[in-house]
Amino acid sequence: MNNGVLAFSIIFIPLIGALLLPLAGRISRGLRNALALVFVASSFVLSLKLIPFVMSGHTLAINKPLLMGLNFTLNVDSLAVFMAATSSLIGAIIILYSFGYISHYENQNEYYLMVVLFLGSMMGIIFSANLIFLYMFWEMTAIASWRLIGFFRKDSDWMRADKAFLVTMFGAVMMLVGFIYIYSKTGSFDIPVIRGILSARPLPDMAVLLILFGIFTKSATLPFHTWLPDAGIAPSPVTALLHAAVLVKIGVYVFARLFVVSFEMSQAWYTAVPLIAGLSAVISAGAALVEVDIKRIVAYSTISQIGFIFFGLSTSHKIGVTGGLLYILMHGMAKAGLFLSAGIIEQNAKTKDITRMGGLIKTMPLTALSFLFCAFSVMAIPPFGGFFSKYLVFMGAIEDGSFVLTFLFLLGAILTILYLLRMFKFIFLGDLKIEAREGSRIMVASVVLLAALSLAAGIFVNYPNRLVQMVVR
């Protein structure tokens, strides 16, 4: 198949397919579930098929020139393919898990529609090389996540869903103004065109600041992170999808797309961004050590880890960027595993309060082990994947000369170990306080799969690494 068609299908199969799911759901649940998985998995398979193409150093731009700089441009490069493969892989596993998790609840049609729509929009963000189309897909993910967060329809759920939407919308419109600023300087929204016009001059600081608003709200960084822990009331696969794998990575990805790959920032941002990220990493890690709600802890952990990704990406050194990008993959898998395990625990223990749990390793050993594996990956223990990415991030930062920041993040990494162990201890160790069975077979299988992937990503780290190195070259 033509590579352009491939990229096109990666976006539009899930995007259009999502709209068919409610119809399929009227026919049979099995068909709908299978279709949902097929749509997302096809994105994954197709992006795998693109890997040889980008590994050989090629890039591809599909361009339809339109008025006002609104050129519809798709950009197939190694960064996009890496990100697409990562998020569609995790998305597919999460959908697999949903088969078990969501089968007890109402509104399943809506659920699958929104999840697949979300992933499709995500693919749109990844491949889009036009700021306005990027923004459109960006907001579509916001709509989908809004519906997903409020899935259980309690009033408090709605308040939080609305909060998430409003906070991210705030960032998004700021970012939009930033895009308009760029437009006013260059006369185009098309990234390659803007690049040509700017020709290695840095973006105006004001524009960078505005865009960072959007990125930080979406990627839940201090002080805009508040919506993310609150969104923990969503169904667990959704929290995994939103917090771990995909949604929060959108901001990071756009950061990489705009400020690492495409444009230059002025020097001050290389200090400011990691500083904000560092504070975010440390403060949210602190909050994670106090919280007792299992999902809130994992959410705070996400905020904290996102800080590391920003840290890696905002080093001007390519080791750090490699580390940051690998971090996206490793953290995505591990954190999705943590959230999904949390989902199994919460569904079977019927509580989210970790102080009321204990000793669950006896009744749910597989979940416990997977949880532990994923936690190890987040803590950066070899041979799990997280070890490599965290080391590379630190290494990049030190090569960059930001020693003080490195120690700030060292504190964050130490706190990571503390809160993950604390959580593991409360949930799985000690006396058995609560009756809880192991989750359904498909749920446990997907969690085990994620844990195994975290391990495999560490052992075979060179495969993603080679792809990522194509980006930084």
């Binding site: 890690a285 223990i381 070899p382």
Partner: protein, 603 residues
């Protein structure tokens, strides 16, 4: 297959086989584990005294898969493999009735794999990979100990994990300064940055070796974890690894000289560790816990020796490392025998079993004399080297080391007396000698102590000295020997007098325990007021709560303040829209006037 990969691959393969072994048959996994350890020993032996290099590109950025076997590495390798084999042998008898035996063997073999990898790694990152991987087996081995052992496992994991993170930064910093990750190519002098890097690496090494202040999980683990673990990791392999790496960074990578400040730092840490830990060991009333404090205390000697940055000190430190591994393993194994046969390690419940377990007692005796530095056992010679170097650097360091020896001797006199001598207790009447599977490793290790003592020139000259550049005088300082003898005699006299006075061996050191100032400190120490881990956690929790409050304040802005302001404004606006004609018309007229005036203002 390249030969150099064998020490890594063999135990790993054995470990996976053990994991796959069928549940029902005990023998199968035991045989597999023993075979794995034996093959590993063989492989390690085949690598000894060879220079083998291997290198293949891996992740880029200077991160290569490069391994190197040299004399030091080969030596550590064979020592580790030896301990691995002996502990496996011992465990066959010790763990035979434990449900977690399978996991234990798995962890043990994986540990061997990782240790071998860490020792052989030439690339710093690769070393970190294996080194930090040890966390997993450490966690697992402690956690399978019993019902509450998970708490200790978490403590150990936290302490070692945090220090490994420091080491991660240290490695990155070193690579940045040196421009390479290949250990043999790194040569840094102590600029402030390099000092920082050294300190970070040192934290990793010290934490692995269990020096203060990273020690506090070891005494806990001695009670919580399966005993062969104690003999295997904290007593032997972790010391080997930690001190090996400390030697590597001090000798090869950084040019540690007596004038450099890290040298003084190391010596201070070493002295403090010797004294504080031995003071704690002195008052313990549990066989294993007492030994575990000694395991900490003895690290102090090694750190002190390497910290002197003198050839004699370094050689002494390294020699002490291998000696300590032998006698401390042996001591722990005797503790295991006693535990298995007498059912307890509490000194209150033991006594007079020396005749019932003569072989164990003999092994204990040899090892205890070694650790106390009684000639002609191995401990004596390594300590003499250390004393000489310490004295050269400063009297205070020597004093600390010598005082440490005094207390060590005291505590072992107390321990031996309380356990093996004295009147036998009623419940210990039926105690038998341990099975041969457990005796053999003890005998082997005790024999090692004797051999390395009597023929101490052999290891020093053939193995250790080639590692250290620089000459050192072989002649021993007669004054120091004299002092040592006096110290030992003093300890013996103190013990005899004290037992005479207090009737019971277990109370032999009560005069120190209840000394005016010390008793208060001891009370607090026993209540863990000084546990660096707890202090650290407390400090963290202060920080954590402030972070949490900051986060809540941030939440408050979003959840309360912004909607509140909006509500206030909204209510105000709604209320002003009262539906009153006059008001509305008033607004309109006013608006019109303002517009007109504004437009005409420029005219």
């Amino acid at each position: 297959m390249k030969q150099i990969f064998l020490p890594i691959v063999t135990p790993l393969a054995a470990a996976l086989l053990v994991l796959c072994a069928p549940k029902k048959s005990n023998r199968m996994k035991e045989a597999l584990a023993l075979a794995g350890a034996a093959v590993n020993l063989f492989v390690a032996a085949s690598l000894f005294n060879k220079n083998v290099n291997f290198s293949a590109p891996w992740l880029g950025f200077g991160i290569d898969l490069s391994l190197r076997a040299d004399l030091l590495a080969g030596f550590i390798l064979i020592a580790a493999a030896g301990f691995g084999f002996l502990v496996t042998l011992y465990s066959l008898a010790f763990m035979s009735d434990k449900a977690s035996a399978k996991q234990f063997y798995f962890y043990l073999l994986v540990t061997l794999c990782l240790v071998n990898g860490a020792v052989l790694a030439e690339n710093l990152f690769l070393m970190l990979f294996f080194w930090e991987g040890l966390l997993l087996t450490l966690f697992g081995m402690i956690a399978i100990g019993g019902k509450d052992s998970y708490k200790t496992a978490i403590k150990a994991f936290t302490i070692v994990g945090v220090s490994d993170l420091c080491m991660m930064i240290g490695i990155a910093l070193t690579a940045h300064l040196a421009g390479t990750l290949a250990m043999s190519k790194i040569s840094l002098s102590f600029t402030p940055m390099a000092g920082l890097a050294f300190t970070l690496l040192m934290i990793g090494a010290l934490a692995k070796a269990g020096a203060m202040p990273f020690h506090s999980w070891i005494p806990d683990a001695s009670l919580a974890s399966p005993l062969p673990f104690m003999a295997f990791l904290p007593a032997a392999l972790e010391k080997l690894l930690g001190i090996y790496f400390l030697a590597r960074i001090s000798l090869d990578m950084f040019r540690l000289s007596p004038g450099a400040w890290p040298s003084a730092m190391l010596m201070i840490i070493g002295s403090a560790t010797i004294l504080l830990a031995v003071m704690m060991a002195l008052i313990q009333k549990d066989y294993k816990k007492l030994l575990s404090y000694h395991a900490i205390s003895q690290v102090g000697y090694m750190v002190l020796g390497i910290g002197t940055a003198l050839p004699a000190g370094i050689i002494g430190g390294l020699f002490h490392m291998i000696n300590h591994a032998m006698y401390k393993s042996c001591l722990f194994l005797t503790a295991g025998s006693v535990e298995k046969e007498a059912g307890s390690t509490d000194l209150e419940k033991l006594g007079g079993i020396g005749l019932k377990m003569p072989v164990t007692f003999a092994c204990f005796l040899i090892a205890a004399m070694s650790i106390s530095g009684v000639p002609p056992f191995n401990g004596f010679f390594s300590k003499e080297l250390l004393y000489g170097a310490a004295l050269e650097r400063g009297l205070v360091f020597y004093a600390a080391a010598a005082l440490g020896s005094f207390f060590t001797a005291l505590s072992f006199l107390k321990l031996g007396h309380a356990v093996y001598l004295g009147r036998i207790r009623e419940e210990n009447k039926n105690v038998k000698e341990a099975p041969w599977g457990m005796l053999f490793p003890m005998i082997a290790l005790a024999a090692g102590c004797v051999i390395f003592g009597l023929w101490n020139k052999f290891p020093i000259h053939n193995i250790i000295q080639p590692i250290v550049a620089g000459e050192f005088s072989e002649s021993m300082n007669a004054k120091i020997i004299l002092a040592t003898v006096i110290i030992l005699c003093a300890a013996l006299i103190h013990h005899l007098v004290s037992v005479k006075l207090r009737k019971r061996a277990i109370n032999a050191v009560d005069n120190i325990h209840h000394a005016p100032m010390l008793s208060v400190i001891y009370d607090k120490a026993e209540k863990r007021h000084f546990d660096p881990y707890d202090i650290g956690l407390k400090a963290v929790s202060v920080f954590v709560w402030s972070a949490f409050l900051l986060d809540r304040m941030n939440d408050f802005i979003y959840n309360r303040l912004a909607p509140g302001c909006l509500g206030l404004a909204g209510r105000f606006i709604s209320r002003s829209h009262s539906g009153n004609f006059a008001t509305y018309i008033g607004w309109s007229i006013l608006g019109m006037l303002i517009i007109v005036i504004f437009l005409m203002r420029g005219l």
